[in-house]
Amino acid sequence: MTTTPVATPHAGVGGVRQAFSDGLVIGWRNLKRIPRIPELAIFAIIQSIMFVLLFAFVFGGAIPLPGYTDPNAYREYLLPGVFGQTIAFASATTAIGMTDDMAKGIIDRFRSLPMARSAVLTGRSFADVIYNAGILIVLMISGWFVGWTVRTDVLQFAIGVGLLLLFAFAMSWIGIWLGLSVPSVEVGQQVSFVVIFPITFISNAFVPIQTMPSWLQPFAEWNPVSTLTASVRTLWGNPHPFATNNFPSQQPILVTLLWVAVILAVFVPLGVRKYRSVSR
């Protein structure tokens, strides 16, 4: 071919700036959708509040917190666990959104546009972090009513929130990869449930780890949901009765950051590769 194609006025912006601005457009699109499908957000919030109430008032009384005699201590202990669980489950929301986009054909439209290849994914995870921040606010307010509070200072509080959102960001990339890998929304739902349920429950989110059989304890202790929850409890001065001399218990924040790094290092390339190869 020797013919020179006609240049178009808008082609060739390229580079990081285009990736960023396209990502913002996709992020805008994903955020715009939230109030249009209010059921999704409402049920996510109801589900989390349900967990707060269930554990605070139903199971809570039966779960003794080693070293604490105050019956209210469990509720204060519980809330960071619910935050961690909610964040972990958010990856399912991401996965379902991604699969839905594929099924509806909008991903094909995006792939036929001269936009940054990364934008569909970065826009999605960016929007999901904001979405999770909103749900966290609702949860903190309802948690405050059942006796949760922050006993340290604003800075420590902010670091805790930042850690939760950073973890949400990492989890959204697992959701992106998963969402692109499953054939339908229903399968995506099932798979995320099967993966995320054990991760959140074999952790210190709802029960102290020393109540588990000893062979399970190392798993629970290294579990990212545990280290995240432990970090937040430590930062906010909430009850945190389990502290062995093992590394994850001594350095929960460091281990959580390591987990975030590992998850991103694995799932960002996987997700990007999957996106490139969809239907190729």
Binding site: T3, P5, D22, A103, D108, R109, P183, S279
Partner: protein, 335 residues
């Protein structure tokens, strides 16, 4: 130069059990300003062809350039000069029409104010002004397709792909869509249109390529293709089956060949070049013999007849076990 030049495209879908050659050495050429209709039944390879030319799919063999860009090596440049309107209306149903258009315009790299202006223009052009600020979920099928088409021409593409633009629309929606497409053609658009409706290719396209099993089996203008299966014929549907032999005897002098009889539908088809004059004579002859008829008319061969004579099966009925153009799993779509 040609806007589309495709040479020997091959695409094979492999699954655990079987291999489907969706495209089997397809070559294609579309000139500037031409409307090419790609015609074929489900599973013929129409959508696969469009997906390869629109950079969504890599061919396993062969090469193609669109507007001078190689579909594999220069995919990103190519994307800014094409528009794609899919078989499934790929707009965001949770955004409004205006928001959809603005978003796609931004992703075609227009600055925001220009994107907003273009969105307004297109809503007007496609008669969606009143619905522009409503969420797409509330749109009718026809409105959705119009919005989808509007999204495809945002950047004033040099070439527009329309993959089965009226599949699933009701007759009114289809006529509306045809009108919109005709307007684009009048404005000089170059179009590659796929369809399984022969009538649609006949209506909209100036050149037709008939494909089946990933291969071209015929091409030409609609008239050229029709000539291949012969000219006009007079069709009589008799009231009583018993009259068939007598009717054939009576009308034979007005035809140019042997009558074809369908016993089941009591239909007698007679090749004839006599047009309306012959028709009047046939009616007179049958009347004189007191043979009652249910229906009579001069029929031109449709592309359905073309398809039947080329492939041995009708265009509308599927291909038995063969899947749609590509396995549903691959795109995550329900077929």
């Amino acid at each position: 130069m040609s806007v589309i030049e495709a040479e020997g495209l091959v695409k094979v879908y492999k699954s655990r059990k079987s291999e489907v050659r969706a495209l089997d050495g397809l070559s294609l050429r579309v000139e500037e300003g031409q409307v090419l209709g790609l015609l074929g039944p489900n599973g013929a390879g129409k959508t696969t062809t469009v997906r390869i030319l629109a950079t969504l799919l890599r061919p396993d063999a062969g090469r193609a350039t669109v507007a001078g860009y190689d579909v594999v090596r220069q995919a990103q440049q190519l994307r800014s000069v094409i528009g794609l309107s899919g078989q499934y209306a790929a707009v965001d149903e949770n955004l409004t029409g205006r928001e959809n258009l603005w978003m796609f315009a931004r992703l075609y790299q227009m600055p925001s104010p220009e994107a907003a202006r273009r969105a307004g223009e297109l809503l007007e052009q496609f008669d969606l002004v009143d619905a522009g600020d409503r969420v797409v979920k509330t749109y009718s099928g026809g409105m959705r397709r119009r919005l989808d088409l509007a999204s495809a021409i945002i950047a004033r593409p040099r070439l527009l792909f329309l993959d089965e633009p009226t599949t699933g629309l009701d007759p009114r929606g289809r006529l509306g869509m045809w009108e919109v497409i005709r307007q684009l053609v009048r404005d000089g658009a170059t179009l590659l249109l796929t369809t399984q409706y022969l009538e649609e290719a006949d209506e909209l396209a100036d050149g037709i390529v008939v494909i089946d099993h990933g291969r071209i089996i015929a091409q030409g203008t609609a008239d050229e293709l029709k000539t291949q299966v012969g000219g006009e014929r007079i069709e009589v549907v008799l009231h009583a089956r018993a009259d068939i032999p007598a009717a054939i005897e009576r009308i034979r002098p007005y035809g140019d060949g042997d009558a074809i009889v369908d016993e089941h539908t009591k239909r007698v088809t007679l090749p004839s070049t006599g047009g309306a004059q012959a028709l009047v004579q046939v009616v007179g002859a049958l009347n004189e013999a007191s043979i009652a008829i249910d229906d009579i008319g001069v029929r031109r061969p449709t592309l359905d007849d073309v398809f039947l004579s080329l492939t041995g099966h009708a265009a509308a009925d599927g291909q038995g076990p063969e899947p749609d153009d590509e396995p549903a799993m691959a795109t995550g779509r329900a077929a």
